[in-house]
C-alpha cells in the first residue's frame, strides 16, 4: 500500500463515520440480484434462456427508474448443475458481492442447496426451478418463494389430459433425481386415480446419452403411452433413440414438460407428435397484445423468441421489484410480507398469484403438441397449442399436505 492509497482510504473511512449523509448516499448503490443457474452442462440451453429473461427484466426496471430509485444489477453465476457449487456461488453472491436478493436455480437439487444458503443469510429467494419440496416443509421458509410450476402440478395436469386424450396404459421413463422422481410418483398416482395402469417405471441416471438398453423391454410391454421425464439434453437423445426403434409408430409419447430451446435444437422430425405441458409458449402472442409486447422486446434484444424458463426469471425479478416497492425496503421479511399481502400479479402472460400459506405461485398451463416437419412456423414454431388449463390451487398439494397449515 503506498502513501496515496493509504491516505484516500483512511480519508474515505473517516468521512463515512463523520457524515451520515455519505451513508445515505451509499444506499443509492445499485440493488443487486444474484442469479445462480447451470450455464454449462445438459441444462445449458434452458439456463441461457433464463439468463436472457433476467437481463430483459433488469433492463426494463432500470429504464423506468430501478427499484426504490436505485439502479438494479443482476449477477448471473454458473452453478454447473452441482448442489455444492450452487451453494458456494450463492454464498459468494451474498457475502462477497453484496446481493440483497437471490433469484434463479434450474435443477431441483441445486435449488435446494441455494435455498439452504439464502435461509441462513436471511436473504429473499425466488426459485425458478421445478420442485415440490421448495414450497413444503422442511425446506420452505417465510422468505422462500417459488415462481415455477412444480412436478405435482405439471404431472397432475398433463397426466389427467393424457388419460383423457391419449390412453390409459403407460410406461414411465424418468431421470433418477429429485425432479424426475417426483414426476414419476405423481404421474403414477394420477394414472391410478383415473383408472389406468402403469406397466413399468424406468429410472435412468440424469445426463445419460444412451437409452437403447431400456427400449426393447418397453417395446415388448406395448404401452399405449410412453411418458418421458427426460429433461434438457437427455430429451433429445431419448426421443432420437425411441424414434430410431420405431416406437413412435407403436405408442403415443407425452412428457410433463416441453422445453422450446431443447425442441429447437432437436428439430421438428424429433418432436413431431410429442405432447407436453408448458407455462408459456411464444406463439401465445397471437391475439394477446401483452404477450406480444414481451415477445417483441425479447426478440429485439436477443434475436430469438423467449422460452418458458426465461419467463420465470423475468417474472421473478419483477416480483422482487414489486415487493420492494410495496415494502419500501429491501429487507427480506418485509418484502415477503408485502408480496403475501398483495399476492396477485400479472407481468404480461396472465393472472398469477402467490398462495400465502406456502409462497407458491399459481399460473395457467398449456398442453402442446409437436408440429410435423414442414408445418412449423420458422425455427422456433415447433409446437402448437392443444389445450389451456387455467391456474387452480387444487392441482398442487394443499398447505396441510405440505406440513404448513
Amino acid at each position: 500500500m503506498n502513501r496515496r492509497v493509504f491516505l484516500t482510504t483512511t480519508a474515505a473511512g473517516a468521512a463515512t463515520f463523520a457524515f451520515p449523509a455519505v451513508l445515505r448516499a451509499q444506499s443509492k448503490d445499485p440493488i443487486r440480484i444474484g442469479f445462480p443457474a447451470p450455464l454449462t452442462g445438459p441444462f445449458s440451453a434452458i439456463a441461457a434462456d433464463m439468463k436472457q429473461g433476467a437481463e430483459l427484466a433488469v433492463d426494463e426496471l432500470n429504464a423506468r427508474g430501478g427499484i426504490l430509485g436505485r439502479k438494479v444489477e443482476v449477477l448471473i453465476r454458473d452453478d454447473q448443475l452441482k448442489p455444492q457449487v450452487g451453494a458456494q456461488r450463492t454464498q459468494e453472491l451474498i457475502e462477497k458481492e453484496g446481493c440483497q436478493f437471490i433469484v434463479g436455480g434450474l435443477a431441483a437439487h441445486v435449488q435446494m442447496a441455494i435455498n439452504e444458503q439464502t435461509k441462513k443469510a436471511k436473504v429473499l429467494f425466488i426459485s425458478t426451478s421445478q420442485s415440490d419440496e421448495i414450497s413444503a416443509k422442511p425446506d420452505t421458509s417465510p422468505i422462500t418463494f417459488h415462481e415455477a410450476l412444480n412436478p405435482t402440478i405439471t404431472s397432475r395436469v398433463v397426466g389427467k389430459w393424457v388419460m383423457e386424450n391419449l390412453g390409459k396404459k403407460w410406461w414411465i421413463v424418468y431421470a433418477d433425481y429429485a425432479w424426475g422422481k417426483q414426476n414419476n410418483m405423481v404421474l403414477s398416482e394420477t394414472n391410478k386415480k383415473h383408472g389406468g395402469t402403469v406397466l413399468g417405471n424406468t429410472p435412468y441416471p440424469l445426463g445419460s446419452a444412451e437409452f437403447s438398453a431400456h427400449l426393447p423391454k418397453i417395446q415388448a410391454a406395448k404401452p399405449e403411452v410412453l411418458v418421458s421425464c427426460t429433461p434438457g439434453a437427455d430429451n433429445i437423445a431419448f426421443l432420437k433413440q425411441v424414434k430410431s426403434f420405431g416406437m413412435h409408430q407403436q405408442m403415443k409419447i407425452a412428457q410433463p414438460l416441453h422445453w422450446i430451446s431443447v425442441a429447437k435444437q432437436g428439430g421438428p422430425e424429433l418432436y413431431q407428435d410429442i405432447y407436453g405441458g408448458m407455462n408459456f409458449y411464444w406463439e401465445l402472442q397471437d391475439g394477446n397484445p401483452d404477450v406480444k409486447r414481451y415477445v417483441d422486446s425479447f426478440q429485439k434484444k436477443f434475436g430469438t423468441p423467449p422460452g418458458e424458463y426465461g419467463v420465470y426469471a423475468y417474472s421473478a425479478i419483477l416480483e422482487v421489484a414489486r415487493g420492494s416497492e410495496l415494502a419500501k425496503t429491501t429487507d427480506a421479511e418485509k418484502v415477503a410480507d408485502a408480496l403475501r399481502k398483495s399476492p396477485a400479479y400479472n407481468h404480461f402472460k396472465g393472472k398469477q398469484w402467490w398462495r400465502t400459506c406456502d409462497n407458491k405461485s399459481f399460473q395457467d398451463m398449456w398442453i402442446l403438441k409437436g408440429r410435423a416437419p414442414g408445418k412449423t412456423k420458422g425455427d422456433w414454431g415447433l409446437l402448437e397449442v392443444v389445450s389451456r388449463v387455467p391456474a387452480n390451487e387444487e392441482f398442487d398439494r394443499t398447505c396441510a399436505e405440505k406440513g404448513l397449515a
Binding site: 454449462t40 446419452a209 437403447s212 438398453a213 426393447p216 423391454k217 415388448a220 433429445i236 437423445a237 430410431s244
Partner: protein, 294 residues
C-alpha cells in the same frame, strides 16, 4: 414378470452388441497405446468427442455421412500424431505418471476448446437417410443405423487384426510391444512405431465418436464418462491385450444391456462390480500377462 419374452431378450442382446462395439473400439486403442508405449492415455475420451464433432462439421461441409465417416477418424488420427510428436514424445523415459497427467490435462483443454468452438449445448447428428428407420429382424424392430454400427465395428476389427498379424509393420508393432529394446537392436526405429500406434489408437477413438454421434449426439463432455468405462474394459480384458479388450468390451456391453433389462438401478455400477470380481479371480485381467504392470 411374465412379459419378458425371448424376443425382447434377443433385442437386448443386439442393443448390448452396439454398446459393446463402441467400448471395443475405444478399448482397443487404449490397450494398443498402453501395451506398446506404457502410456495411459487419458485424452482418449476427448479424442472420441473430437471424432463426433469432426463428423458433424464434415457432414455439414460435404453433405455425405460416408465421407465424414472416413475422414473424421483420419483427422483425429492425424491430431493424435501431432499430440504424440509434440506432447508425449518429450516425456518418454520418464515416470509413466507424466504422460498420464499430460493427457489428463489435454482432455480438459480439449473439452473447453470444444465448448468454445461448438458451444456448451452440443449438436445433433443425423444418420444418412438410407440408414434411418428400423428393420424387422423377425423378432423385433431394430434401428438400421445400429446394425450398421455393429457391421462397421466388425469390419474395422478384422482389418486391424489382419494388419497386425499379416503385415510387416504389424509384426514389428507386436514385437515392439514384447521387447522394444530388442526391436531397436535389430535396427528398427521404435519411436516411429510408437508414433504410428498412437495415431491408430486416436483414429479408432475418432471412429467410435462419429459412430456414436448419430445415436447419442455430440457434446463436449461426451467422453468424460465413457473413458472411465473404457478403462474398465481394458483392465478386465488385461492391460495391453488386444483380444482381451475385444472380448471384455463385448462382454461388458452385454452385461450392461442385460442388467438394464432386469435391474435398471444397478446398470450404472455393474461394470465396476464386474471388474472387481474379475480382478479378484484373475488379478491381471481375462487375457492379461502377469507382470506387465509391475
Amino acid at each position: 414378470m411374465s412379459d419378458i419374452s425371448l424376443a425382447a431378450l434377443a433385442a437386448q442382446v443386439f442393443t448390448g452388441l452396439v454398446l459393446g462395439g463402441i467400448y471395443v473400439l475405444l478399448a482397443v486403442g487404449l490397450s494398443l497405446i498402453f501395451g506398446l508405449m506404457t502410456v495411459v492415455n487419458f485424452s482418449h475420451g476427448a479424442l472420441y468427442m473430437l471424432g463426433a464433432y469432426f463428423g458433424f462439421v464434415l457432414m455439414g461441409r460435404t453433405g455425405s455421412f460416408l465421407v465424414a465417416l472416413v475422414l473424421a477418424p483420419l483427422l483425429v488420427g492425424v491430431f493424435g500424431l501431432v499430440v504424440e510428436r509434440f506432447l508425449i514424445r518429450p516425456l518418454y523415459g520418464r515416470s509413466p505418471d507424466d504422460p498420464l497427467l499430460l493427457t489428463f490435462g489435454l482432455s480438459l483443454v480439449l473439452v473447453e476448446v470444444a465448448r468454445l468452438i461448438w458451444g456448451k449445448i452440443g449438436v445433433t447428428l443425423d444418420p444418412p437417410a438410407a440408414l434411418a428407420g428400423a428393420v424387422n429382424l423377425g423378432f423385433t424392430y431394430f434401428p438400421t443405423y445400429r446394425l450398421f454400427v455393429i457391421a462397421v465395428t466388425a469390419v474395422v476389427l478384422v482389418g486391424l487384426w489382419l494388419f497386425l498379424e499379416k503385415t510387416n509393420i504389424g509384426l514389428v508393432i507386436r514385437a515392439g510391444s514384447r521387447d522394444p529394446l530388442m526391436v531397436r537392436a535389430l535396427g528398427f526405429d521404435v519411436g516411429r512405431i510408437w508414433f504410428l500406434v498412437f495415431g491408430i489408437g486416436a483414429g479408432l477413438a475418432g471412429l467410435a465418436g462419429i459412430l456414436a454421434g448419430p445415436m447419442r449426439g455430440a457434446y463436449a463432455e461426451m467422453g468424460v464418462t465413457i473413458i472411465i468405462e473404457s478403462f474398465v474394459v481394458v483392465v478386465v480384458g488385461g492391460m495391453g491385450s488386444l483380444l482381451g479388450a475385444v472380448i471384455s468390451g463385448l462382454l461388458i456391453g452385454q452385461i450392461v444391456g442385460l442388467t438394464t433389462f432386469f435391474a435398471p438401478k444397478l446398470a450404472e455400477i455393474i461394470v465396476f462390480i464386474f471388474m472387481a470380481l474379475v480382478l479378484l479371480f484373475r488379478p491381471s485381467g481375462l487375457l492379461g500377462e502377469t507382470g506387465l504392470m509391475e
